[in-house]
Symmetry: C2
């Protein structure tokens, strides 16, 4: 188990960056829009797992609904796994749900799927697998 990043839901990335700059001296390495999730993201390098600030890019996005319901705060934890297909199958086999059964490809060159927080002790847990490793694995089989 290796934590890749922690996602934090914010109303304004700009305003939030002020906090991380002033309190932790952190600055974003990258900003991307992830259209399929309706979010804009800023990545804060942290010498290991990053902090991902997430701001809604669409009013009807799950992130916009999260902010409406819970306000700003920690949104999800992303953990890297060796084999995402196997991990997703294991979740389903154990009777737990995924948020979507379909595995998606993110803006940062990894495949991902979310375990449903109702089956993960209230944590929105993202399972990810870097694409490069996945291709290497497939080639070796």
């Amino acid at each position: 188990m290796k934590i890749d990043h922690i996602g934090i839901a914010v109303r304004s990335i700009e305003r939030s960056l002020e906090f991380y700059r002033e309190v932790l001296g952190a600055a974003p390495s990258r900003r991307v829009v992830v259209a399929q999730e309706g979010v804009e993201a800023a990545m804060l390098p942290a010498g290991g797992p990053r902090i991902e600030l997430l701001q809604p890019a669409a009013a009807d996005s799950p992130l916009a609904r999260f902010l409406e319901k819970r306000g700003e705060g920690i949104h999800h934890i992303a953990v890297e796994v060796d084999d995402l297909d196997a991990a997703a199958a294991a979740v389903r086999r154990s009777g737990r749900r995924l948020v979507t059964d379909e595995i998606r490809i993110g803006a940062e060159n990894y495949r991902y799927v979310f375990v449903h927080p109702k089956d993960a002790g209230g944590v929105l847990l993202e399972l990810i697998e870097p694409l490069a490793r996945q291709s290497a694995g497939k080639a070796a089989r």
Copy 2:
């Protein structure tokens, strides 16, 4: 900025460990009771920042109130800083609040203080400094 651990509020460490074992193959390295915070904690090593499962050890603890209000889920992020006294002073100087002004010593040999979530974009942010480094720093001054 370096993330040290992610704290997750759970009603039962035992039940929660089942999830982390089955889905992520993770097992706890250590269990401690932190009397001053009214919590019992289990640490899950994650090849970098750990996951800290937190269960109330006292009915009137802040963690018990968190669970009552928000249910199980991600509770806090702990970030290691170089100089905790300077970081805490910077937070106060910027007009932001700490949960307690007093810096405490944790069960795992570090000093810590929490930034108030209302002043940290809804995130309960723990600032920590390992005790060994702090002694070394003080000795060098």
